[in-house]
């Protein structure tokens, strides 16, 4: 009796341990995925802002940013990227870009299967010549 009880108890403890470890591992995978996607989105926004800052007008900046976004390679987790805002402010001498990235959690959590990650980047407009 004593031997059977000990073995069973260990099994229960291991099972209980897995019940803690496995969700933690899943959470870790999702956190790594979200962090990576978020940083990727920030870099994308920075790149788009730099591209837009090299343009001479709002229309050209919008077009250049859209072209760059269309070249972004989506994958199983980053399912879509959209350009939400291009603000070419000649007065301030800055261009502001906002991107939205649809991120599908590698391991869905209850109530969370996808997330929308937003990032904003600002760059000085460098395309405008010095005022006369």
């Amino acid at each position: 009796m004593r031997t059977r009880s000990g073995k069973g108890q260990s099994l229960v403890e291991v099972m209980a341990g897995f019940m803690v470890f496995i969700p933690l591992a899943f959470l870790a995978v999702d956190v790594v995925g979200v962090t990576s996607a978020s940083q990727s989105n920030e870099q994308l926004a920075e790149s788009l802002a730099r591209v837009a800052a090299n343009q001479g007008s709002q229309a050209m900046a919008q077009r250049a940013a859209e072209d760059a976004v269309s070249n972004f390679q989506t994958n199983a987790t980053i399912t879509a990227v959209t350009l939400e805002l291009v603000k070419y402010d000649v007065g301030l001498g800055q261009v502001s870009i906002t991107t939205a990235m649809n991120f599908k959690l590698p391991i869905p959590m209850p109530g969370y299967t996808t997330m929308i990650l937003r990032s904003n980047a600002v760059q000085p407009i460098v395309a405008t010549p010095a005022p006369l």
Binding site: G17, L24, A130
Partner: protein
């Protein structure tokens, strides 16, 4: 019993304790990894912020300006100041003035006035340059533009204190990059006085002055700042920046075109980053002295001689007229009686009532003076040709009682470029007219061929003498003088055309 119960307690808690510890370790590992990722992300945000801020510095350094000496107000911007955009224009004007003086010296036109004007023009350019260089080298100037951008790009992942600001311990630095590449000043060979050899090169069919490659004119070094064509302000590597921080031989105070600044954030811990960027105003100009002019003066004299002695001197205009220069002049042996001398004058201008025909009124080399005018006009209107001069002068009618004609530029653009060229006899019409010092000596460059009895002619009437008329004839000649100016005092040169009709009366018939 005591020993057995102790054993049982140890066995039962072993797996659960290990699992709890393992779970704790995993949670700590996940937290640490997350914090590390946040730190790395925040660090990247800081670098992005510093990059953008440094780029903003290089872009906005064109807003750092100084007021020039009034002599250089013609190349100032619409606010009346000099900055990175037009500092090379200032030096281009100073160079033209000194190149003019150097050529004048070689050709024997130099005067103490012209020499002084060129030296003073150089000193004034140097003073403006020094003021601007001082401001561009100052960390204070760069910091305001750095903070302007860094303030909009905090390192958010580093927490509420992730704001990026300039590093107070930073080594704000400047550099002169792209040495030997083009400045933002182009020029044409025909703009330059004889012998002038600036350090330039041909790029896509245009001559450009080199940046950071000093050359000497009139004994003074000239150093232009590199601003490459078709380039925007951009980031450069630390290596490139550092390699171009050293001094430029012969240039005592070069204007920098690249800037380094570092930023930091004081969040969990102080972290910092630095970035370097090159400025470029993205404006190109042609070498010129915008507020300058040349003049053409035509003066006609008649000298009246009776029996070898000059008895009168008169002037005449550009239309045909009859003058009596000798009135009842008593003749002596071998003639006798009283002589009245007359002449028909101004006939040399009968072929056309315009400035071009006036210049060419008598046979002679008129290409030489015309080309001197063309070269000088090129200093305010690049690309001006001999044909342009001919058309301009042909369109200018001769004005009665006006001897001096001013050829000057009229600007419609705010940066005083690409002017129209006009002629006037009233300098008050020139809005910026304010001539100063800078003229050389006036030297004879052309002697026109002397014409006898044409196109002007004379006649006489002798009363109470042996003969009713004596031998009489005219000698019509012309001399053209050129007086170059350095341009420091606005005047680039005066062309002086003197026409002389000598009316000669002997009082006795021809042998």
């Amino acid at each position: 019993m005591r020993n057995r119960s102790l054993k049982i307690r140890g066995t039962r808690g072993a797996s659960l304790g290990l699992i709890a510890m393992g779970a704790l370790l995993v949670i700590i590992a996940i937290f640490a990894a997350f914090q590390f990722a946040v730190y790395m992300g925040g660090s990247r945000e800081l670098r992005n912020s510093v990059d953008a801020a440094a780029l903003n510095v290089s872009k906005r350094m064109i807003e750092v300006k100084v007021a020039p000496d009034p002599e250089y107000s013609d190349i100032a911007d619409t606010t009346g100041n000099i900055g990175l955009m037009n500092i090379n224009r200032l030096w281009a004007k100073a160079y033209l003035i000194n190149a003019n003086q150097e050529a004048m010296m070689k050709e024997g036109y130099s005067t103490s006035e012209s020499s002084t004007s060129a030296s003073v023009a150089y000193q004034k350019a140097e003073a403006t340059n020094a003021n601007l260089a001082s401001m561009l080298n100052s960390k204070t100037s760069g910091d305001q533009y750095f903070k302007q951008m860094a303030g909009t790009k905090p390192a958010k992942l580093l927490g509420a204190d992730g704001g990026v600001t300039t590093n107070t311990q930073s080594t704000w630095a400047v550099a002169m990059v792209n040495r030997g590449a083009e400045s933002n000043i182009n020029y044409q060979q025909q703009q330059l006085p004889d012998g002038a050899q600036p350090n330039g090169f041909n790029q896509n069919g245009k001559l450009w002055l080199r940046g950071y490659s000093p050359f000497v004119a009139n004994g003074q070094p000239f150093c232009f700042t590199t601003f490459r064509n078709n380039e925007m302000p951009h980031l450069i590597s630390d290596t490139v920046f550092s390699q171009n921080q050293g001094p430029i031989p012969q240039a005592s105070n070069p204007i920098p075109n690249a800037f380094r600044e570092s930023g930091q954030t004081n969040s969990m811990q102080t972290i910092s980053a630095a970035a370097n960027a090159v400025a470029n105003p993205q404006r190109q100009f042609t070498m010129a002295i915008p507020h300058s002019f040349v003049t053409i003066t035509i003066v006609n004299h008649a000298k009246w001689f009776v029996q070898g002695t000059q008895v009168a001197k008169t002037t005449y205009g550009f239309t045909k007229e009859t003058q009596q220069g000798v009135v009842k002049k008593k003749l002596h042996d071998p003639a006798s009686g009283l002589l009245d001398g007359f002449a028909s004058l101004g006939n040399e201008y009968a072929s056309g009532n315009n400035l071009w025909t006036a210049l060419n009124a008598l046979p002679g080399d008129h290409n030489t003076p015309a080309m001197k005018l063309v070269q000088r006009i090129n200093e305010f209107k690049p690309g001006f040709t001999l044909q342009n001069l001919q058309q301009l002068m042909q369109s200018q009618n001769l004005v009665p009682n006006a001897n001096t004609y001013y050829i000057y530029p009229v600007y419609s653009s705010p940066d005083s470029t690409n002017p129209s060229v006009l002629v006037t006899t009233t300098p008050n019409k020139i809005p910026w007219f304010n001539p100063g010092l800078g003229l050389g000596s006036s030297n004879l460059i052309v002697t026109e061929e002397m014409q006898k009895n044409q196109p002007n002619y004379c006649w006489d009437i002798i009363t109470e003498g042996k003969y009713a008329s004596g031998q009489h004839y005219t000698e019509v000649s012309g001399k053209i003088f050129w007086q170059p100016g350095t341009g420091a005092g606005q005047c680039l040169g005066n062309l002086w055309v003197g026409r002389l009709t000598q009316c000669i009366f002997t009082g006795v018939p021809a042998p």
